[in-house]
């Protein structure tokens, strides 16, 4: 039997329960021993606009998404049109019979630009501009539309209604039934998805029954699905993973101002201020809770986090591009006054408000250069769930150890990816604190007598000392003395040299795959797992590829990256931005120019099919640079 590899898409109006459907499907499959990998796409809108979840379901842990999809659930007619190009030639498409009368011109939530390409396709095939037309289109490409009377089915099983509230469960339940999952797993999925609303569990279970009964009675032949033993895992998004890592890493003070796609992290933490601790070995320790402050703006958020850090508390803030722009001055202050500050930067499509709910990796150079003046800062990036967890711990470590701002970058794709993560290892990363001050009598906050640039860190509440964003002397008082200025600048920057020497290469840049491969991919962030899958796929076609994966941009691992690239053959830079920013940083640090790139800046995540296709085009010398276009 061929290994299960299902790509599934559930689409519907925002606010129409897509999240619950996603949670339910994930839980059901995970209980059957499967792994899931899903990405949520949505508009900057509360209710009405089109949103969808794209899942990949496999027994081994999937690391990327693939188009076309094998099964699509349309909770509204718009979904049929929005995703007309996303289905495979034998895909099953579940939709409501009541869509039959729907005309394309009434799909008001489809943006005019998208509408135009849909019209053009239907017109070119002489099809009607309505649901009949789109269904004919699907049949013509070999897909199988499955009409279900949503309202009638739901009314039969949940007469109290309203039926519209259960479309998501009906759609998800039907999917599970068609894919051959038994009803018990589906029921467990419901109990998980609605664990915070127990009053609606019973009615949703009845809708699941409606879905299974319907598939049973119909002519649809469900798939045969193998079941596997279940191991404990956590269903995490990137936002969740960072939150968990921060808390494990000793975060006790976090500030934020609401912004997509960053605030899910802070609100999750806000929900867990009363921390639960490990057993006996922590009995005699001072254990308290976490403080989360929702601030009036990002200026407040960054500077309040700085203030918290002055007491010795491990402090952080989380934001996205627009908020990060506002934080620049506070980051410069943290650099100047040597405050251990962690900023988690969730990138979305820019510039300006840009694509507020879509993916982007266009803030790398900005993060690297943020804040006026020259000061040391660290810029690190995560590419999968485990890295989100452990890098969050390391960020807090680096910030205190080197007394400087640390910018931890995540992209929207990773932030909103759903992934089943095997047990988190509480002993993987040690917590490292700041170099403590023991000389309380004659304390000099900025003691110059240090080889590594790191002066002992006194804290408010224990020490009397001063600090200022002006250039300062060892005591922290303002000075404009030329020689003190030089010494302070050099002391601060020396910390970056120290970090460069101390941090192991595996935390900075990693070469995955065969050293002597024909192709070397370069990437960072969420494309990591996708390219690892791509390498496996290409191998099947006899193409050998490896991946130089970047995790730390400041201090940049110049020597290592230079060595790897000098030995590489065809180098392809893969990034979700327009100007190949990581490649620019490589050139700046190593002098090596990376000529080939696969770039995407339409705000959607990359999928493995388009990356492989583009790789082959570059290999065939057809193009030096390919811009990817997948996504709805």
């Amino acid at each position: 039997m061929q290994e299960t590899d299902i790509n599934l898409l559930v689409g519907g109006p925002q606010g129409g329960g897509i999240d619950s459907a996603a949670n339910m499907i994930s839980m059901a499959f995970s209980l059957a021993g499967y792994n899931i990998y899903g990405i949520r796409e949505y508009h900057s809108n509360i209710k009405g606009r089109h949103s969808y979840i794209h899942f990949r379901i496999m027994h081994k842990r999937p690391r990327s998404l693939k188009y076309p999809v094998d099964i699509m659930v349309a909770l509204d007619p718009d979904t049929l049109f929005e995703h007309m190009f996303d289905v495979s030639s034998n895909a099953k498409i579940i939709y409501d019979t009541s869509f039959d009368k729907f005309e394309l011109k009434n799909a008001r939530m489809i943006t005019s630009d998208t509408m135009e390409s849909i019209r053009n396709e239907l017109k070119s095939r002489n099809l009607t501009m309505d649901v009949h037309g789109i269904l004919d289109y699907f049949r013509s490409v070999g897909a199988i539309p499955i009409a279900m009377p949503f309202d009638k089915l739901i009314n039969d099983y949940v007469p109290e209604g309203p039926a519209t509230r259960y479309y998501n469960t009906l759609g998800a339940g039907t999917t599970l039934a068609i894919l051959g999952l038994d009803i018990e797993h589906a029921n467990e999925g419901i109990k998980y998805a609605f664990r915070k609303k127990p009053s609606v569990i019973d009615s949703n279970l009845r809708v699941i029954k409606a879905a299974y009964d319907y598939v049973d009675r119909s002519e649809i032949k469900p798939e045969q699905l193998k079941f596997y033993p279940v191991i404990p895992r956590m269903l995490l998004t990137g936002n969740d993973a960072v939150a968990i890592g921060k808390l494990m890493g000793g975060l006790r003070f976090q500030t934020y101002y609401p912004i997509t796609p960053a605030s899910d992290e802070s609100t999750l933490l806000e929900n867990h201020e009363d921390i639960k601790f490990l057993g006996n070995e922590t009995k005699n320790l001072k254990k308290g809770g976490l403080v989360i402050v929702q601030c009036e703006d990002e200026l407040s958020a960054v500077n309040m986090a700085n203030g918290g850090a002055l007491t010795g508390a491990r402090s952080a803030t989380a934001t996205s591009g627009p908020g990060f722009s506002l934080m620049a001055e506070g980051i410069s202050f943290a650099g100047m006054t040597e405050i251990p500050l962690v900023v988690t930067l969730y990138q979305r499509g820019g510039p300006s408000t840009g694509l507020p709910t879509r993916n982007g990796q266009s803030d790398l150079l900005f993060a690297l250069n943020t804040g006026h003046g020259e000061f040391p800062k660290m810029v690190i990036s995560s590419g999968d769930m485990e890295e989100c967890v452990y890098d969050a711990i390391k960020s807090l470590n680096y910030a205190q150890k080197y007394q400087m701002p640390v910018i931890h970058m995540i992209d929207k794709t990773l932030a909103n990816t759903m992934d089943l993560v095997p047990e988190i290892d509480v002993k993987k990363v040690r917590i490292e604190k700041y170099k403590e001050n023991n000389n309380h009598e004659n304390y000099k906050r900025y003691n110059l007598n240090t080889d590594d640039g790191v002066s002992p860190y006194g804290v408010f509440g224990k020490d009397v000392f001063w600090m200022t964003g002006d250039e300062h002397n060892e005591l922290g008082h303002v000075t404009e003395d030329t020689s003190v200025r030089d010494k302070m600048m050099e002391k601060r920057m020396r910390k970056l040299i120290t970090a460069d020497k101390e941090i192991p290469m595996e935390d900075r840049a990693v070469l995955y795959g065969d050293k002597n491969a024909d192709i070397t991919y370069i990437t960072w962030g969420s494309q990591k797992s996708l390219l690892l899958d791509a390498i496996d796929e290409l191998k099947k076609d006899g193409i050998s590829a490896n991946l130089l994966y970047l995790r730390m941009f400041a201090p940049f691992p110049s020597e290592y990256v230079g060595e790897v690239l000098k030995k590489s053959n065809l180098i392809i830079d893969v990034e979700s931005n327009m100007t190949a920013q990581a490649a620019k940083i490589i050139r700046m640090n190593t002098g090596i120019e990376v000529k080939n790139s696969i770039l995407k800046y339409n705000g959607r995540h990359m999928t493995i099919d388009e990356v492989i296709k583009s790789t082959k085009r570059i290999m065939g010398r057809e193009l030096e640079m390919v811009v990817l276009e997948n996504g709805s």
């Binding site: 000793g250 003070f253 308290g288 500077n303 490292e432 604190k433 009397v464």
Partner: protein
């Protein structure tokens, strides 16, 4: 730190470079007087300032001091206070710093009520940048440092503080040092956030609101023995707020100084947090162990985030 708080000198040995006759001298005296009277352990108090002449104040005090960014003194102070609620945190900011570039934070702090003390230095000009009009300068006022009469109108700091929800609102005068030090002491003992608007001359740039101009106009609220702005019961809240609010608006020939409003019935942010995080005051963020003896995390990710687990 073992320091005798009996004989402690709260003034540092840094040379003060404010202009002769600056109102800031009186503020430094009142602050050191209050700290002396309270026998304050110098490690229990932190001075936080922004930018401008006022921003230099922490350097002149022999207590922990953070001279931060323009407009951002309140966020820094709140960060310090909420991470270590045992600390007394004083904000020292000018009218431009707190009412223009930092006005959003000043307003937001009213509803947060973290328990910081805000000293708002009001001399109606931006001194350090050579005397431009500050947000407290009235419309059409012409001081010598501005080229034409002021084209913007003024904000009344005490009234804004009342409207923003500060639970302690007062006004002082930099030459009434005894009263000012009493106000600072009361503000520091108040649980919620306090704000004291401090009227002061700028002898270099403001030739209208001079020392004499203020002396002729100010009168002390506490001289009226019936004046009682303290709310200890919710039933008194509306009446006392209205009285204090109306009084704060008074300006002209007679300018009231003293406490406008003190409400002890509003829970402070630390008190609100304690309801969610039971050990917050005992082990605040600044005073927690974050790792075990081997350096590993003490947080149980599964138990804490149990709803994310799937078995």
């Amino acid at each position: 730190m073992e320091k005798s708080v009996e004989k402690y000198n709260y003034r540092s040995d840094i040379t003060i470079d404010w202009c002769p006759g600056c109102g800031n001298f009186g503020i430094v005296s009142a602050v050191t007087q209050a700290l002396t009277d309270m026998k304050m352990d110098p490690t229990d108090v932190v001075a936080v300032s922004g930018i401008g002449c006022s921003g230099k104040t922490p350097h002149y005090l022999n207590i922990a001091g953070a001279h931060t960014l323009h407009g951002r003194s309140i966020p820094y102070a709140v960060g310090v206070k909420l991470a270590n609620p045992k600390l007394n945190v004083l904000v020292m900011g000018g009218d431009g710093d707190l009412l223009s570039i930092g006005a959003g934070h000043l307003v937001a702090e009213g509803r947060r009520n973290s328990g910081i003390v805000v000293l708002l230095y009001n001399n109606a000009v931006y001194g350090l940048t050579k005397g431009q009009a500050a947000p407290t300068m009235p419309l059409n006022e012409k001081v010598k440092s501005i080229p034409r009469p002021n084209i913007l109108d003024k904000i009344n700091p005490a009234t804004l503080a009342m409207a923003s929800g500060y639970s302690f609102v007062a006004r002082g005068f930099s030459s009434e040092i005894k009263q000012l030090s009493m106000l600072i002491e009361k503000a520091m003992k108040h649980k919620g956030s306090a704000i004291i608007e401090i009227l002061q001359p700028c002898p270099t740039y403001n030739d209208v609101n001079t020392l004499d101009w203020f002396r002729k106009r100010v009168y002390k609220l506490e001289d009226d023995k019936t004046w009682n702005p303290v709310v200890n019961d919710k039933s008194e809240e509306e009446e006392k707020f209205n009285k204090g609010y109306n009084l704060s608006l008074k300006w002209g020939d007679k300018i009231p100084i003293g406490i406008f409003y003190e409400n002890n019935t509003v829970p402070s942010f630390p008190e609100r947090l304690s309801k969610i995080v039971p050990d917050y005051i005992k082990y605040p963020p600044s005073d927690q162990d974050v790792s075990d003896k081997d350096g590993y995390t003490i947080v149980d990710p599964i138990k804490t985030f149990i709803e994310k687990e799937i078995e």
